[in-house]
């Protein structure tokens, strides 16, 4: 053995020696979370847990575990393993008595652990992930054992934690990666693109330190575009509503908000609060309202015959589940039906969390209201003017209500709330259609003492007499009006009798001109908004006209979250066994017992919930973010189960490192994601070579101990963006409506949906993948074969797979052929160089490493065979070039084929 490894060996020996001495010195102190809980979860909890409590015994919660069981005694008696039924039953010889019931017995070691635990007092403990983050001690700098490997490379605190584990596992770090390969890795990780030529030149010329290169890359707008994909997977961002009809929706302003916020390095606590509750912030800005679209990415069901309430509830439950997966690495879906079988979340707690989300205005309507009206600057000024007017002529509260109504048209009552139809219908289960002499009720309405009704509708015939009465057919007439034919949908102000309190509205229509069973109009919604004050003022008419004009404009609108006003608040009940039709007891908003405390100063709504999430005592938020950012870079998390940190999750490989970064994120970096990323990227752990020796693979196939650098296939988006970038096709245009690059014909075949894929023109074909239109029931085909999802539900982990369909895409998809052609054109212009040199130079530009002789030979061979082929078969050359609408010679075709091959190489498709 070379002596240079001696220090490493010695420290291993020392470690083992110390461990052995400690082991013999005193019986091991049993830790509940790491030693006992896994045994209980493995053997006991399926019959004695959240779902079943056989014999009246459960080991899910502390109070249950020590409670009296059906036998009249507690099953665990601290300090007395001999008298504890839980132990006695493990030894039973009668198979009807021995636990686990009709399953293999516990091992002697497991029984010993349980006995020792009870003997030591049966202290209940918290799962590591539910304990607040405390600053861990950084292990002593242990660069020494690896001095020969590390040379002069600097090491960071991350490395101390990593080296420590490597020593424990008999591993040592790899040396630093080749310089340019490392630059490519950095650029791909930060921007999702290869480094620019300028950056390569500066790097090569020594004009940049490593740190400066990282900073420079982090400051590029492409950083936000790359990392947005990660967030949008969790936000389930898509450009269509999902479910059967799956028609388009405008969500892209939210996508753009994510890109901008990441580029601005918006602190993660603010990033959280604005998305979960931007609407509840005082005087929210337009951007803060846009942020709330995070939770309007839920699907919206337009299928005929569906009940909107069912899918409103489905969306609310999805918000609960998504919020807890995204911020808390916690699976809430099971708690919907019963207490969590493994984690400390109770059935009713699920609905207490749901209560935070159950009072948003959205109701699964076809129009997806509430929607933010993205006005032009001029229109915004008009809104402001009206607000000021109302403030001056009435009061501030009234002014705010008017401005809000102009901004998102709330509050209002949707037609689907109508009931007891007689000669009336809900057209396509969406809009109120009244036939001649039809009646219906809109119940429990609070008109807010308003003197006018704003009615949104369209009509195909003239002369329908409408009446709205209080309470029923004999009630007082509150409004009478005529509906005539309209051109499209309109919002019309109709005088309404001022009444106080909640009332049932009885609505009638009559129009002898209507055919039998013909709807006289289609009513979409009813809003009770007082008319503008200041009617005696000279300017009134102009203000009123502006109000009308603003309501009539059709700006871009974005679904957002708006909270119900008090008079529209919904109650929240437990759903018995998760069934939304079986209502149990009523609950109010509350966060789970097992996590951080609630600060009484927080409002009991989504805003309070968001504050609770980003409170520094919340044990899960920072750990979750660190784990997911780490996984973006290393391909696996410090906790491998990215979606879950509960008691059934994988133990963290480096618990102290996880806590160290989580602590730093909150207390030093003030939740800056860029700082966290930089911290990881400057570590030696990141900068290592990604070479894998068979020995290393055998010891650590998944690279759990990070004894080599990250190496894995690029994501669907990166694969495409990189090809566009190296060929020079890529467009740097940012933001805006989703684009439609080339896709084969006949992919979209959605039922009851007239939309089609219309290939974008010009540079929009070559935009970064984050801007590609995403249709949920039919996503962009080459992305789904490269493991991107359909964004119907929150995805916190993409599983990387390899299939022949991916190879077919990068070999034959026209966008890759076009990229190859662009490269081929450049190569064929280098007529003064021999093909070998041209190939080597192109390869080096693409991969940022020198080509090996054998690789060059293979590619040159391809070039020569292709050249011979096209020289001898001009008809094939013609066909090849015509298809791509270019002119050229056999050299162009042959180089294009070489480029086609290079775009498919493992080293190109892989970050290494």
């Amino acid at each position: 053995m070379p002596t240079k490894n001696l220090p490493a060996l010695l420290s291993v020996l020392l470690f083992l020696l110390v461990g052995t001495i400690l082991f013999f010195k005193e019986p091991k102190r049993v830790d509940f979370s790491t030693d006992v809980k896994p045994i209980l979860n493995k053997h006991c909890i399926s019959c004695h847990g959240g779902v079943k409590k056989n014999g009246g015994f459960s080991v899910l919660f502390e109070e249950e575990a020590f409670a009296v069981t059906e036998s009249g005694q507690p099953a665990i008696i601290p300090g007395r393993p001999g008298q504890s039924e839980i132990i006695r039953r493990l030894y039973e010889s009668d198979p009807e008595m021995r636990m686990p019931y009709h399953r293999p017995a516990l091992s002697p070691e497991e029984i010993e652990t349980l006995k020792n635990w009870i003997h030591q007092g049966a202290a209940w403990g918290k799962h590591w992930a539910y304990v607040p983050v405390r600053e861990p001690k950084i292990p002593e700098a242990s660069k020494k054992p690896f001095a020969s490997i590390l040379g002069k490379s600097p090491i960071s605190t991350i490395d101390h934690f990593v080296f420590q584990k490597q020593i424990e596992n008999g591993l040592s770090p790899s040396p630093e990666e080749e310089s340019l390969r490392l630059l490519r890795r950095l650029a791909l990780d930060i921007t999702g693109l290869p480094p620019s030529e300028k950056l390569v030149a500066d790097w090569n010329g020594g004009k940049l330190t490593y740190d400066q290169a990282v900073d420079q890359l982090l400051s590029l707008p492409s950083y936000g575009e790359k990392w947005a994909t990660w967030w949008l997977d969790m936000a389930r961002y898509a450009d269509t509503k999902g479910y059967e009809r799956d028609v388009s929706r405008t969500m892209w302003p939210y996508r753009d908000w994510v890109i901008k916020s990441l580029n601005d390095d918006m602190p993660f606590d603010r990033f959280t609060v604005e998305q979960l509750a931007g609407d509840l912030l005082p005087n929210p800005t337009e951007d803060q309202l846009i942020a709330t679209a995070f939770h309007r990415n839920t699907m919206n069901n337009d299928e005929g015959g569906t009940e909107d309430e069912e899918f409103r509830v489905a969306a609310v439950l999805d918000r609960v589940n998504t919020t807890f997966e995204v911020w808390q690495s916690t699976t809430m879906a099971c708690v919907q039906c019963h207490s969590h079988p493994y984690d400390p979340f109770k059935h009713e707690e699920y609905f207490q969390i749901k209560a935070f989300f159950n009072n948003s205005r959205d109701e699964d309507t076809h129009d997806e209201e509430p929607k933010l009206r993205l006005y032009s600057e001029e229109e915004k000024a008009q809104v402001q003017k009206i607000k000021t007017w109302v403030d001056q002529n009435s009061n501030n509260e009234e002014a705010l209500a008017k401005a809000n109504f102009l901004t998102y048209l709330e509050p209002k009552y949707h037609a689907h709330l109508c009931e007891d139809f007689v000669d009336a219908e809900l057209i396509d289960t969406k809009w109120l259609g009244m036939w001649h002499n039809g009646t219906t009720y809109l119940r429990n309405v609070d008109t807010q003492n308003s003197d006018q009704l704003l009615l949104n509708y369209w009509a195909d015939i003239d002369g329908t007499k409408m009446e709205i009465r209080k309470g029923g057919p004999e009630g007082e007439i509150l409004s009478e009006f005529t509906i005539d034919k309209t051109e499209g949908r309109i919002t019309r102000a109709i005088p309404f009798k001022e009444i106080k309190g909640k009332t049932d509205l009885f609505i009638t229509a009559s129009n002898p001109k209507a055919k039998p069973q013909q709807s006289t109009s289609a009513i979409v919604w009813f809003a009770f908004i007082k008319s503008l004050p200041g009617k005696n003022q000279p300017e009134y008419l102009s203000i009123e006209q502006q109000w009308k004009d603003l309501l009539a404009t059709k700006p871009v609108t974005l679904p957002i979250m708006i909270e119900n006003p008090d008079f529209m608040k919904r109650k929240t009940n437990v759903f018995e066994r998760g069934n939304w039709m079986l209502l149990g007891e009523e609950v109010s908003p509350k966060t789970p017992e097992g996590l951080n405390n609630w600060n009484p100063e927080w409002p009991k709504n989504r805003l309070g919930l968001a504050f609770w999430m980003v409170d520094k005592e919340n044990p899960l938020t920072a750990r979750t973010l660190v784990n997911r950012v780490w996984a973006q870079i290393f391909g696996r998390g410090l906790v491998n189960t990215l979606e879950d940190m509960g008691t059934q999750s994988d133990m963290p490989s480096h618990p102290e490192l996880l806590d160290h970064l989580a602590w730093k994120l909150m207390h030093e970096y003030d939740w800056s994601i860029k700082s966290l990323i930089k911290e990881i990227l400057i570590s030696h752990t990141y900068r290592q070579s990604s070479k894998i020796s068979p020995e290393l693979h055998q010891k650590d196939p998944e690279n759990r101990w990070y004894a080599r650098g990250p190496r894995f296939r690029l994501s669907a988006e990166q694969v495409r963006d990189q090809a566009l970038a190296v060929s020079g096709l890529i467009s740097n245009k940012m933001y805006g409506i989703g684009v439609m690059p080339h896709q084969p014909d006949g992919i979209w075949q959605t039922v009851y949906n007239g939309e089609s894929w219309i290939t974008s023109e010009g540079e929009d074909q070559y935009r970064r993948s984050v801007y590609t239109f995403l249709k949920r029931t039919s996503p962009y085909p080459s992305f789904i074969s490269f493991d991107a999802g359909s964004r119907e539900v929150c995805i916190s982990k993409r599983i990387v797979t390899n299939t022949p369909l991916q190879a077919l895409a990068t070999l034959n998809d026209p966008v890759y052929i076009e990229a190859a052609l662009k490269l081929g054109e450049k190569m064929s212009q280098e007529t003064n160089k021999d093909p070998g040199t041209v190939i080597a130079e192109t390869y080096e530009k693409m991969m940022l490493v020198t080509i090996s002789e054998s690789k060059k030979k293979s590619l040159l061979n391809l070039y020569q065979e292709a050249l011979t082929n096209y020289r001898s078969k001009p008809e094939e050359l013609k066909e090849f070039l015509q298809d791509k609408k270019v002119e050229g010679n056999p050299e162009l075709a042959a180089y294009t084929l070489v480029a086609n091959a290079m775009l498919n190489l493992d080293e190109f498709l892989t970050k290494s």
Binding site: V51, G305, Y342, F421, V751, A807, L859, L881
Partner: protein, 502 residues
Amino acid sequence: MKRLENLLTELHRTQLEKQTRRHFLLDCVSKMGGLALAPLLFGCETNPGVPKVQGLQLSDRDLNPLSPLPPPYFAKAKSVIYLHMAGSPSQLELFDFKPELVKYNNQPCPESLLEGRKFAFIRGVPNLLGPQSNFAQHGESGAWVSDYLPHFSKVVDEVAFLKAVHTDQFNHGPAQLFMQTGSPRLGRPSLGSWVTYGLGTENQNLPGFVVLTSGGKTPDAGKSVWGSGFLPSVYQGVQCRSKGDPVLYLEDPKGINRDLKKTLISSINEVNKAEFEAFGDPETLARINQYEMAYRMQIEVPNVMNINDEPEYIHQLYGTKPGEEAFANNCLLARKLVEKGVRFVQLYDWGWDSHGTDHDTAIDLGLRNKCNEIDRPIAALLLDLKQRGLLEDTLVVWGGEFGRTPMQENREGKTMGFKGRDHHVDAFTMWMAGAGIKNGSSYGQTDDFGFSGVEGKVSVHDVHATILQVLGFDHEKFTYDFQGRPFRLTDVEGEIIRDILA
């Protein structure tokens, strides 16, 4: 058109000379010899050997996640053909004969049946609607089948009917998801994904889970009904299309001949091999394998998807017309695909939503036409599989996502111009045939109006449990860990329907 029976004799004769699928697999190497690449890792074996790289221990699945695995328990079936009639056909016109409904035709539905029930479109008190077809008993089993399905009536002794299936979803999207993924909400893997995850597939030159659609539309629930949910995406269904490339990007760009493509892929893999030697990442071996498979798929898929070369009697048997996107063509393709070792073939036919809003959705008009489109092909598929010995290890499943009401639809309280039935969750008919199934049997019964099951009621989970059982899985043990718990296709439910198992 020749009579089916004559066609069958002809088929039987030629079959004796045909190879079975097992032979195909053995023949693979010699057949591919002329076309294949000089393989860098392995040849065209269906279960490629693990490469011998010193010190590197890899499983087949490390290199190819679709490599075949033996089922955990004894399996009757090796492959599945699932025929899903999207929109949901009326059991009351096809299989569930209710003379009482004839008697009470056009009478108001008893309120007791409607109490506490929700329907998608029916409002108030609708009228009962008698069957619009004529029923007779067929075969030795005496199964009731209507005159909407004359050809199918002749093969009833091959199938086992489930007459009292129920679901809890009355909208198409959620109900299709429930039927195909075991959950009405998104995010779960489809049945076909579970099966290919558990068993891999026999022929690596074809996708393991193939989806074929007809009727001009994809199912209401979108591609999620063949999605892989939380399973790796390699297990999602691959839609093979009748128009354009059968598999996306299968065809080479114009002006690149096969030899050149071969050189291209060989060069890629030579470079990849050098990369592996330099970096030692087993992922690179998977990549090499992936490109070899892609190349072979380019040959094999167009071959299997091309029905032009099928003999005339086969076209007559199925009623196929090459070049169309038709259910008949898909049935023939399904046979070809399982013959070649594809694990799971899923057919979706759209257009079964017989609400009676127009001619096409009228229970006495449009439904009859839809039945015409499937009747002959399904009978042909069962017979063709049987004659080739493939029915012995292929399970065939037929059904919709729910049933249809014994009442005539009165959409939003309106009188309708045509006769139709609304969505119905309480009872509907499915059938299975082939491997492991007690043919010529029927299980479950509905009440006099066909409204609810009265005996032998089975749930969607029960159907799944039974399918998995036939494939050699214990549905309670076949799990995948996700979000901190083991997930099952059947969630926490599902009982095997033993009465229809052979």
